[in-house]
């Protein structure tokens, strides 16, 4: 099924449950983001891109893989917009298009080591599984 | 939340609103263009404590599908204590109606201040949705009074 960019934007809104119109463009999400410098499209821009139906750029963005899913943006957003959910939704769309899981629970024990923060694992599952 | 329109069932809903808070809240919902279904018709009363159980039963008798009473928030009554009496009266009356087998969802009390246009509209949308889910009031209508 082929979707227009606008339909894709609607789908992202639906998956994430985010109302992008609530954003007042204060930038606190980006200001809070620990991965900001790694990102090509920044958290506050995600909101704006989805709002404007500019989805193609998001799907190709490396930001979706750089997001740590730490949810600092979601916690601190004064308007309750939840940019992390948007990023996650875009990521999910990409993963679904690819059609396969990149991380199977069976592989996890081998990857584990003492130093690894739990959050990374949770984040990896969020990113690499449908 | 918007209520889907169904062709067959247009409920009759009577909303008693106190003049000082809820009627003004309804006015604010109006001037803010916050829509709710046209099935709701508002009757202005000075205070929620003016609403006699007789009015509510009469509405049901005449075929109302739901009756809602809106007043100032407890503590904010224009007449200081009116809504406290209304609260007791309506609690007991609604409990009695429930005891007689009238679906409880057909009666409701909601406190809406003059500043709560949003709440007024949301409340009415919810209430109408509830009445839609309960369907037509067949239990309480006095058929002699029915006019077509």
């Amino acid at each position: 099924m082929h979707r227009t960019e606008k339909e894709q934007a609607d789908l992202i809104r639906e998956i994430s449950g985010v109302d992008t119109r609530k954003c007042m463009k204060c930038g606190k999400c980006s200001a809070s983001c620990p991965a900001y410098d790694e990102m090509d499209i920044r958290p506050h821009q995600f909101v704006s891109y989805v709002q404007n139906g500019d989805v193609k750029a998001l799907l190709e963005s490396k930001s979706i893989w750089k997001c740590l899913s730490c949810f600092a943006c979601l916690e601190r957003c004064p308007r309750d917009v939840k940019p992390a959910k948007l990023i996650e939704a875009v990521r999910l769309m990409v993963i679904r298009q690819r059609g396969e899981d990149y991380l199977s629970p069976n592989e996890v024990p081998e990857l584990l080591d003492e130093e690894l923060p739990q959050q990374l694992l949770a984040s990896a599952f969020r990113k690499y599984r449908k | 939340m918007q209520v889907e329109k169904t062709q067959e069932f247009r409920p009759k809903i009577v909303a008693f609103c106190c003049n000082w808070c809820s009627y003004a809240g309804a006015d604010l919902a109006g001037s803010s263009r916050l829509s709710y279904p046209a099935d709701v018709k508002i009757i202005r009363v000075p205070c929620s404590c003016r609403v006699n159980p007789m009015f509510i039963l009469r509405a049901f008798q005449r075929g109302a599908d739901g009756v809602i009473l809106c007043g100032c928030h407890p503590g904010d009554c224009h007449y200081t204590t009116g809504n406290y009496y209304a609260r007791r009266r309506m609690t007991l009356l609604f409990s009695m109606l429930d005891y007689l087998g009238v679906e409880n969802g057909r009666t409701r009390v909601e406190w809406v201040s003059a500043a709560e246009g949003v709440k007024f509209s949301a409340t009415m949308n919810e209430f109408v949705a509830k009445i839609h889910s309960l369907g037509e009031n067949v239990r309480l209508e006095d058929l002699r009074c029915k006019r077509d």
Partner: protein, 325 residues
Amino acid sequence: MQERLVERAKELLADGTVVRVLGWKQGDLGYNPEPAYFNSPEELKDFVYDGFCGANLSKYMIQAGKLEGNTLVFLKPCDTYSFNQLIKEHRVKREKTYIIGVGCKGTLDVEKIKKAGIKGIESISQEGETLKVQTIYGERELPFMDALLERCTVCKGKTHQVYDELIGAQEGEEAGPTGNRFAMVEKLEAMSPKERFAFWQGELSRCIRCNACRNVCPACSCLKCVFDGNQFDSAQKANADTFEEQMFHIIRAFHVAGRCTDCGECSRVCPQGIPLHLLNRKFIKDINTFYGEYQAGEDTDSRAPLTNFTFEDVEPGVVGERGRK
């Protein structure tokens, strides 16, 4: 006991304490004594006091208070609650009333006796736990408990709340059978709305709007009932259809809510046998649950639950929340 009451009544008439006596008079049948005024010692020959004297005489004192001179009234323990409530509402004149609190063993339900197959009743007597009934067909017996009016199986106590003297009773007497008076209300509450509706539809559609419940009720003491007036455009509707009776009974119960002492007279007099007390008891139960235990007629100065409130009262939504449990 009947003799002691008559004797004392004669004394009080003779010494001028009262000019009339309000009591029960032998009816045309053995089981239906009726409330009556006795204006002279001679008239007292028809005075009767037995298990069929269920009638609560409190309400008649509204009228008696308007007559010249003082009135002697006999009140059973539970009748005194009604009298107290009427004092609170300024409907009777305590100072024009001489109250003899009479002892009560429980009053009888003739319908129950009839249902036990006993007919042609002439008189009754009690021996221990057994009720002996003299009938035109001879003496019959049944357990006393089985013949009690429902209200007496949930006796609210044998303490007179107000009196000038006691006969056949003393202070602190133990109550009669004390069952759970809310048992039936609870049973109804546990039903589905549909079942409840069917139950009440069945009961209330038998109503013939004779107004006996209203006329006997000590709390229904309005000079003119709203259902006889035009303020609500509700005067004297016939029972042609579903809702009129419900409306009448709901409003009647609502008007007496917090004032009803649960004397049970409404159900006792209903010619159709509608358990009207179940409406009043629902209000009593709710009032007790929501606003704290309250017994109307226990005192003469407290605020009734519906003319009172607290800042923390439950919200009307509690009805729905309770329903979901």
